[in-house]
């Protein structure tokens, strides 16, 4: 196709869009609803992800040291833990802090506090609270710690207990993994299904639009127009539908995200949709405008092809 033809194709596409006023309006409207669903799916995906991540973040692991563990060993172990790529953070709780926390936890339990006072000495060891980057990595970290402790030859073992090896703690973590994983799958599936359905509806609307032009397409063939020359203006029109629908959708999302922002932040306790929309605007623009353009072009291309066969 030469430059002259390209110019004509664009002119014809724009003119058709303008002169087919009502049909164009209806197609853009339909496309807006599709792009809205795609955008909402993006929001839903982010909210779902952050919420599930928050759940997963609740998991942690405590490493209890013996009461006579030297501070130097604990510092060593803390440093080696921090060096692990799987570890997100390590918090050191000294023996005194552990005791203070224990007292606070049991402040209404006089019997326990009395028993503690009877002992005279602090019965609690220091604790390292470990958070992994991913919930599935506690296993690796716990095994690493056990190995480290056993390898420290010559000196007595300092780790009294790792709560990850408690069956209950492990079960809780496993269940959390299961729930969040299936949450992601089910959420993703539902979102995907909605997106697919609306894409199919939009696709069909464009096909109907072009169906109304089928005789026109056949006439163009009979007066000697080439297939590409006939097809291209319809694709330009489809792309225009997509672009205009994308701009409308992105504009609609501004007040929508603002309104949803406070509600979701309060409810899901983490993410403000409005802030997310503003900080990820380019991503939204790319996906929504890209989807609109691709949808418009591909739907037009496929719909016209049927009537070009003569």
């Amino acid at each position: 196709m030469n430059w002259l033809s390209i110019k004509r194709v664009f002119r014809a596409g724009f003119l058709n869009f303008w002169r087919n006023g009502f049909v164009s309006f209806a197609s853009v409207l339909m496309m807006v609803s599709t792009l809205l669903v795609i955008g909402l799916a993006m929001f839903a995906g982010v909210i779902l992800n952050t919420t599930l991540e928050q759940f997963r973040d609740k998991a942690d692991m405590d490493v209890y040291f013996t009461t006579d563990a030297p501070d130097a060993r604990i510092v060593d172990i803390e440093a080696s833990l921090k060096a692990l790529p799987q570890v997100e953070s390590v918090q050191y709780i000294s023996r005194d802090d552990a005791l203070a926390q224990f007292r606070e936890r049991h402040q209404n339990d006089q019997l326990t506090l009395q028993a503690l006072d009877e002992l005279g000495d602090n019965p609690l060891g220091a604790v390292l609270n470990v958070k992994a980057k991913d919930i599935t990595q506690y296993d690796v970290i716990a095994n690493f710690l056990q190995g480290q402790d056993a390898l420290a030859s010559g000196s007595p073992q300092v780790i009294d207990k790792i709560n990850y090896f408690d069956q209950e703690h492990r079960d809780a973590i496993d269940r959390l993994v299961q729930i969040t994983d299936s949450g992601k799958w089910i959420g993703g599936f539902i979102i995907g299904l909605f997106v697919l359905i609306t894409i199919a509806i939009s696709f069909n609307t464009l096909r109907l639009t072009i169906y109304s032009s089928r005789e026109e397409i056949q006439v163009m063939r009979l007066v000697g127009a080439g297939k590409t020359y006939i097809r291209a203006p319809f694709m330009v029109e489809g792309v225009l539908y997509g672009l205009i629908a994308a701009i409308i959708t992105l504009l609609l999302f501004y007040p929508l995200a603002w309104w949803l922002g406070n509600a979701t932040e309060g409810f899901f306790g983490g993410i403000n949709v409005f802030d997310y929309y503003l900080s990820h605007f380019l991503l939204f623009f790319g996906i929504i405008a890209g989807s609109g353009v691709v949808l418009g072009a591909v739907a037009s291309l496929l719909a016209v092809r049927r009537y070009l066969k003569i």
Binding site: V219, L222, V223, A225, G226, K227
Partner: protein, 226 residues
């Protein structure tokens, strides 16, 4: 120039549209194909435009079997044949001017050629005043004249007019036939299909008569006899 060689067309439901049709058309001829509705006139035209394939036999245009032309080259063939239909088949979203210009654009002609030829052709069919009107703002006769302008603008070797007066009143019918005669006088071959007795009898040109898919008469200076 055009040669139908033992062409038959049998549709899937076994109805026979054309049955062993053979005849040729010479350059510059004005040939009318007549017959009742369903006699096979339109099928004959569609064969020449490669819009339909024959069940057997061949259609030659300038010694080329039109059904052997690959799909991507078919536009070149169609640009040599101007077509006029009973229902005008103008592009509804384009003005009269743009409808005519479209045929030139499709043929890859330059903007300058379009700007000079389209007004000229519209003037030839006496429609300069309606150049900016859309098809739904034109009368039947006017729409058909736009269709003729579109058919001749690329100076094709042959014009195929399939029942061009079928939807027109006698005055417009007369005008359209006069325009076709004028085009023929300028050297373009015309193939006209019709079942209008008045038109055929006034033309005094060659008439091929079809009945139930068969050629039953081929008269040099024929009349409508059925």
């Amino acid at each position: 120039m055009i040669y139908y060689d033992r062409v038959s067309k049998i549709y899937a439901d076994s109805s026979v549209a054309l049955d062993d049709v053979s005849f040729s058309v010479e350059p510059g001829e004005f040939i009318s194909i007549v017959g009742h509705s369903g006699a096979g006139k339109t099928t004959l035209v569609k064969m020449l435009l490669a819009e339909e394939k024959p069940s057997s036999g061949s259609v030659f245009f300038e010694s080329v079997n039109v059904h052997d032309v690959p799909s991507r080259r078919i536009n070149d063939l169609r640009r040599k044949i101007g077509t006029v239909f009973q229902d005008f088949r103008l592009l509804p979203q384009k003005t009269a001017y743009e409808n005519v210009a479209f045929a030139m654009e499709a043929a890859g002609r330059s903007e300058e050629e379009i700007a000079s030829d389209v007004p000229h052709v519209l003037d030839l069919v006496d429609l300069s005043e309606k150049a900016n009107n859309f098809p739904d703002e034109l009368s039947g006769g006017e729409a058909q004249r736009v269709a003729i302008a579109r058919a001749i603008v690329n100076q094709p070797d042959v014009i195929v007019a399939d029942e061009p007066t079928g939807n027109l009143d006698p005055v417009n019918t007369f005008e359209i036939v006069q325009i076709l005669k004028k085009i023929n006088d300028l050297g373009t071959t015309i193939i006209l299909t019709t079942h209008n007795k008045g038109v055929i009898d006034s033309l005094k040109k060659r008439v091929v008569t079809l009945d139930r898919g068969k050629v039953i008469r081929d008269d040099r200076e024929g009349k409508y006899i059925l």
